[in-house]
Amino acid sequence: GESVGLHLPTLSVQEGDNSIINCAYSNSASDYFIWYKQESGKGPQFIIDIRSNMDKRQGQRVTVLLNKTVKHLSLQIAATQPGDSAVYFCAENGFGNEKLTFGTGTRLTIIP
């Protein structure tokens, strides 16, 4: 079936450096993509989203890039801080699909 998967299960980044978290999806009908951040003991928190008619979207210290040709999504976090340590999930929602499909998750650790 259709799936959303992440390339790396863990990522360690030095504080102050930039981090990039990748996500591959297989549903060519995917229309809407979301990145969530989940800190230990908490529910996932919305970070940023992007629609399939866009290639790039920026937020505060975060940028999401969408490459529809290779079905690839990435989350860039600039100037990482200790509070960025968490598990990051990508999720996609195909057009007309009432549900989100979540990826496995990448654990980001910021090294002081």
């Binding site: 969530y36 003991g41 529910g43 919305f46 598990v87 009432e98 549900k99 989100l100 998750g105």
Partner: protein, 113 residues
């Protein structure tokens, strides 16, 4: 900050007990969801609802049941808890339009002894 609440946050119970996990949202969202998540693992959708009196089973089979009598309330019930039900249960809600961004509650960590 999303206004979605779950109680209890932590629950430890014995095998065979009946439990209800509460979820409430004050955003007037039509759609609500229940996910099951083991530590460090992906989320699995177990139930969802499009609105009052609507409930659907999710992608992961679950022995739990849900009800949606009021828009803001989406409780999940286990009639007879077993150790295999030990997990984190996350509730979420979303608007139908313009996006399906889901907003999550803090979760209930359930341990069945």
């Amino acid at each position: 900050e999303a206004d979605i609440y779950q109680t209890p946050r932590y629950l430890v119970i014995g095998t065979g007990k009946k439990i209800t996990l509460e979820c409430s949202q004050t955003m007037g969202h039509d759609k609500m969801y229940w996910y099951q998540q083991d530590p460090g693992m992906e989320l699995h959708l177990i139930h969802y609802s499009y609105g009052v009196n609507s409930t659907e089973k999710g992608d992961l089979s679950s022995e739990s049941t849900v009800s949606r009598i009021r828009t803001e309330h989406f409780p999940l019930t286990l009639e007879s808890a077993r150790p295999s039900h030990t997990s984190q249960y996350l509730c979420a809600s979303s608007e139908r339009v313009p996006t399906d961004t889901q907003y999550f509650g803090p979760g209930t960590r359930l341990t069945v002894l």
